[in-house]
Amino acid sequence: MKFFKYEISSIILLTGIFFLVILTGVYVNRKISTTIEKVNVQAAPDNRLLLMKSLTGTLTEAENNLYSFNLTKDKTYLDDFYKTIRNSEKKLTRLKNMSADDPVFKSQVDTFEFFVFEKFKILDSLMLTQNQYRVTDALNVVQEKIDEVSALERAQNEPKAKGLSIFKRKKNEANLKITYFKKELEEIRKMESYKEITNNSIELGLIQYDRFIMKKIAQMLDRLEKRERMAIARKSEAAGQAAKDAKKITIIFSVFCSLLLLLIFYTIIRYIRKNNEYKKILKKAKQESDELAEAKVRFLSNMSHELRTPLNSIIGFTDLLTNPESKLTNEQRREKLGIIQKSAQLLLKLLNNILDHTKLQANKIEFEKEDFDIILAVREVFQILEESARVKNNQLILHVSTESLHVKGDSFKLKQILLNLVGNAIKFTENGTIEINLKFESNEAGRYLVHMSVNDTGIGIASDRLEHIFNEFEQESMHTSKEYGGTGLGLNITKTLIELQGGSIRVNSKKGQGTTFFFSIPYEHGKVAQAPVETPVPAAIDITQLVKGRKIMVVDDEPFNRKLLSSLLNPYDVELYEASNGEEAFELARNIQFDLILMDIRMPKMNGIDATKQIKALQPIPVPIVALSAGSLEDDKNTAFIFDAVLPKPFKNDHLLAVISKLLDKNTSTLDLNLVLAEDDDDENDKHYDLANLRVMAQGSQEFFDEMLELFIRTSKEGISQMQGYLDEKDFYAMSQIAHRIAAPCKHLEANKMYALIKLIENYKKNAFTYEEMKFVLEKLKSHSKQLIANLEAEKFEEKSI
């Protein structure tokens, strides 16, 4: 699920990154295109200025054509001159069109147009003043005068035509003509000189005007060029800025893309790593699962054999004993019954092993913390197994480094560990020696570290099997299980029990030479155990007197179990009732006041838990009800709260009787309250609480602080008052529930003594409190809490005063 989520989130992230890159790319592309466009526009020359310059060139061309014509009289130049005028007009029109949107430039164009036309006027005028036909005209005038004179002479000479007189006359006439021509020529010269002077003056004026016009045009072009240069400078600057912006955007984009790439890279690497991790985990889990499945298959086949063997003997010998035709002597019958008993015990041992293993698997095992003498516990185990060792001709030896060692821990679990290890040693050893060694040291944490070893000279374990020997369902070999039996769970249970107590275990072994198990367990220093541990001691009570005439109901759907319990209790002369389910039990309980009920949990119609709840609600002083638990998980969960005691199936007679005695005899339980209430006398000056935590939590909020104190005081008072009510009704269960509810705040205020007292009430069942003991503890609690609350209220008042 987690992996799937990670995959989805990775895909979403990558898709997001992909779209981000695309969006950023589009944005950057647009930005750069806009910048380039700007640069292009800004880099383009001003066409209007170019056109004006071209026009200026045209004017120069026209001027050249005109001068060329004047010099050569070649009409081609004249044609070119007029062509330039037409070109200029066209260019001016274009220039006007180009400046239509720019009023400032349009005014410049109008002025320029005026200068252009003025220039052409000047050129035209110059052409007229520099008329090259003036000499011809003058000669024509001379020719006309000569013609006039010739005509006049022909008219006078027509009647005369004879001698000297004629010669004389002709000489006079010639003189007259010369004088006349001279006179006329002088007149023409004078006229032409006058015209020359006039033309020169006009030409000079025109040339000056032309210079003025050209100067104005040049100035205008200069101004426009200057303006253009400035505009270009501004545009260059803007283009530069645009280029810088584009560069910046490109860098940002590159960095952004690089970061995204890094992120993608990181995501992919992370994904691959996670993937590999999951693969490894899955592979390991599969391997473990395969191994476990294989081991369980082995276990089942082994177990079926293990269970079948004692069952066969039980069934076989039971058949034999119940067969009326079998003619067995009493001695033979006793012998067969002994075999049946041993087979049943073996079956029980096997089942206990499986149950222990199940509890360990479910982390259900809890460790007691009791003071006990570890040497004594080891000696007990020694005594139990001494006989078994002797039967196999083994010598059982115990080496201890001290006579007694008082520790705090779970003595039963230690015995279980030792029984398992020493039992194994005996099982696999014949005609040999089994040694139990115990040493201890005090470690830095102020604890005893107890080292123990169990050494045998038995068959030993092959070196390649050593590492598997502590695995569940494992035995040294198939041969081992066939020859010696067992579940293959013992060592696994032993190892788990040691490790759960903070210890460790290891093994040394050589095939054929023997095995040594070493283990160490840390224990807290214990007190010298109070005289025998105070659990119900059936031997000390006259059980016959105690149960005689008592009304006891056995509730179980299994007739065999009912029969068994009846047969166990009948000898004690009890008034026994039977019910096969919860409904029947409830009906009976409504009509009969029972002294005790033994209740199975899993039953048809109404289960033991519901029946117990309903039966307990019937009477003000609820009848004690003992759960008969098969040890399953579901049963244990509920029995912890509802029942007065739990008797695990299969149970032994003395255990059953001990529980019954405890519940029926109100005086059997003794409580050493001095141990719990060691600091019995409250010193008024001792506050028994610490508000530092609450102050930290309040972070300066006086309102919160006050509110929490008030709440603590109120809920504590209410809780204690309710407990008092329930005590009067002898409803310890309800008291326990309230105690549980109000305990946590005490812990938070470090009101440790109040907490301990409340916990005593909460764990009344475990402490096996009687009414008087509950009353005593509650009185202590009331007295202590009164003082504590008074101190709290005083403190609150002081804070407010400050």
Partner: protein, 138 residues
């Protein structure tokens, strides 16, 4: 990037004192962890199981539930009810007793984790809240 996310936390604790204390601490932890993140915060606290059930929001991110409740109810009942309506809610069982069996059963029924009432309670809660906020902020 997600928009404004809502972090919903619910507390079910029958002890009024501890309920108030726990709520206060959770508020402080959320405020500490959500700094700089666009996350709103809704905290509901109940000291009564039926009230809790009637008001349980399916969108709840984290539920801190006391194991032992009134009227013979336990955290196991609460987990079952929550899991009927929400699979995504992180359900944390708060317990003051290290009863391995009960706690194992809680996990079996669908609890996301167990926090014991001791010195490390709020450190663990802090870590859980921080993780939840990180998840919301992605």
């Amino acid at each position: 990037m997600s928009g404004n996310q809502i972090l919903r936390i619910v507390i079910l604790e029958d002890n009024l004192f501890y309920n108030k204390l726990f709520s206060r601490k959770i508020e402080q932890l959320v405020e500490k962890h959500k700094v700089g993140k666009n996350i709103s915060f809704v905290l509901d606290s109940f000291n009564n199981y039926s009230e809790f059930l009637n008001n349980f929001n399916k969108e709840t991110n984290i539920a801190f539930v006391d194991f032992n409740l009134d009227n013979n109810f336990s955290g196991i009942d609460v987990i079952k009810d929550i899991r009927n309506v929400s699979f995504d809610c992180t359900v944390i069982i708060i317990s003051d007793a290290k009863n391995n069996y009960n706690l194992y059963h809680c996990l079996y029924e669908g609890a996301s984790g167990i926090v014991l009432k001791n010195d490390t309670t709020f450190d663990l809660c802090s870590y859980l809240i921080e993780e939840q906020i990180k998840r919301l902020a992605i």
